[in-house]
């Protein structure tokens, strides 16, 4: 098993227990009601990303990610820079793994990958929403069923950030997006960074290679 792939596999299995907890902050009031769902793509899109990942101990790896989305459907493939497909799956209210080379032949890895893609690309289902603001921008706070919270923070530079908190109100994921060129229509972020747990945890950096509306 090539070590770099082990690292990628471990991304989705890493425990958050030994990291400093970040709790759901109180919301400062605002009269604004921003449209936070505007950060999400509409319809069917295909993305290719260059992926860089790193673990808390400093180990790093690279891969290429292909994602085709049409809410709620996700098709994804993870491959090496040289083109070897390591993992391919389709999610349509149920997960079907099409190809998985060890150590990726694991439901836990597949489930974690799909959940992270859902977090990044699909809007929350909840209609339970509060609005607020902080120094970074305006916030939409979604209370999801069974407890998780999701803060969508819209910054003034057209970037955005997602903070997801578990039922214990401890942050378990954050996603930071750097916007692409200004355009009339929705454009995907040119760069995304997903962090598990906190800044000391693993990170997944996604640099956009191509995006296509299908």
């Amino acid at each position: 098993m090539k070590p770099v792939y082990c690292l990628f596999f471990m991304l989705f299995l890493v425990s958050c227990a030994d990291r400093q907890a970040v709790y759901l902050p109180p919301l400062a009031g605002t009269t604004e009601m921003p449209d936070c769902r505007k950060i999400y793509p509409q319809g069917r899109w295909q993305f290719v990303h260059s992926l860089e990942f790193s673990l808390a101990d400093g180990k790093k790896g690279n891969a290429v990610g292909v994602t085709v989305i049409d809410d709620p459907v996700i098709e994804c493939a993870l491959m090496t820079v040289e083109g070897l497909v390591l993992f391919a799956a389709r999610y349509d209210r149920g997960l079907k793994i099409k190809r998985a080379i060890p150590p990726f032949d694991n439901q836990e890895f597949a489930g974690g990958l799909i959940r992270d893609l859902q977090l990044i690309f699909f809007p929350p289902l909840s209609e339970d929403i509060q609005y607020g603001k902080n120094d970074n921008g305006t916030i939409c706070r979604y209370r999801q069923s069974a407890g998780p919270w999701l803060d969508i923070i819209l910054s003034t530079d057209q970037g955005w950030r997602l903070n997801q908190y578990g039922p214990d109100k401890i942050r378990n994921r954050s996603v930071t997006a750097r916007p692409g060129p200004v355009a009339r229509q929705w454009q995907p972020p040119e760069y995304l960074e997903l962090t598990a747990c906190d800044a000391a945890g693993y990170t997944l950096k996604m640099t956009l290679v191509s995006a296509e509306k299908l």
Partner: protein, 202 residues
């Protein structure tokens, strides 16, 4: 494992310039194999996936110098360099805007393929332990994995030779019904002087 696949492709590429006149039997190929000192060519890599509306295109260059020095470099979309020289292998990849050496590479697969290269450079295509080779007409060689474990990774490798003796058009690696990778080579130059530093520096 990716290094294995890549290096199979590289190795296949290396053997092709040895083929002059495109003989129609393994024995004839072996007899016609000339001495090769170096190869340099540009490549385009097409990654075809069923879910992709169009292939992912990567571009780069490969440089080989006998007996076993290699530079396999991607220029886009992701900068990436593999160097083999004097029995040592290094891989560099772009991270945070800089080229960093990848640590912890598994070299076993590379070593296996390098052993194969020496056979291929002698015109022995059928002695590969991992793949059986078949000559389809004078311009196409098909490699089929011998073991089921390898077949789960690679169904077939297809080598398409050029009209010009000694050159190659493409190498296609079939992973399954939904995925294949095609390497298309251009601007091939044989037996030119190559600076050794190209195999040592990123």
């Amino acid at each position: 494992m990716s290094a294995y696949v890549k290096n199979i492709a590289i190795a296949l590429l290396l053997l092709v310039p040895l083929l002059t006149g495109w003989a129609d039997s393994w024995e004839a190929l072996k007899q016609q194999t000339p001495v090769i000192k170096s190869v340099r060519a540009d490549f385009v890599q097409e990654k075809h996936l069923k879910i992709l509306s169009r292939p992912i295109i990567s571009r780069g260059v490969f440089i080989f110098q006998a007996p076993g020095s290699l530079r396999w470099e991607y220029f886009s979309p992701i900068k990436n360099i593999l160097l083999i020289h004097n029995g040592r292998t290094k891989k560099f990849i772009r991270r945070d805007g800089r080229l960093e050496e990848e640590q912890g590479m598994s070299l076993a697969a590379l070593q296996i393929v390098l052993q194969e290269i020496s056979r291929w450079l002698s015109g022995n295509f059928t002695e590969n332990s991992a793949f059986s080779a078949g000559l389809e007409n004078k311009r196409r060689i098909i490699f089929i994995p011998r073991e089921p474990a390898m077949a789960r990774l690679i169904n077939k490798i297809e080598l398409q030779l050029s009209d010009t003796p000694g050159l190659i058009d493409s190498v296609t690696i079939y992973e399954g019904p939904d995925s294949y990778t095609r390497l298309i080579f251009t601007n091939a130059r044989l037996n030119q002087e190559i600076d050794n530093s190209l195999f040592m520096k990123k």
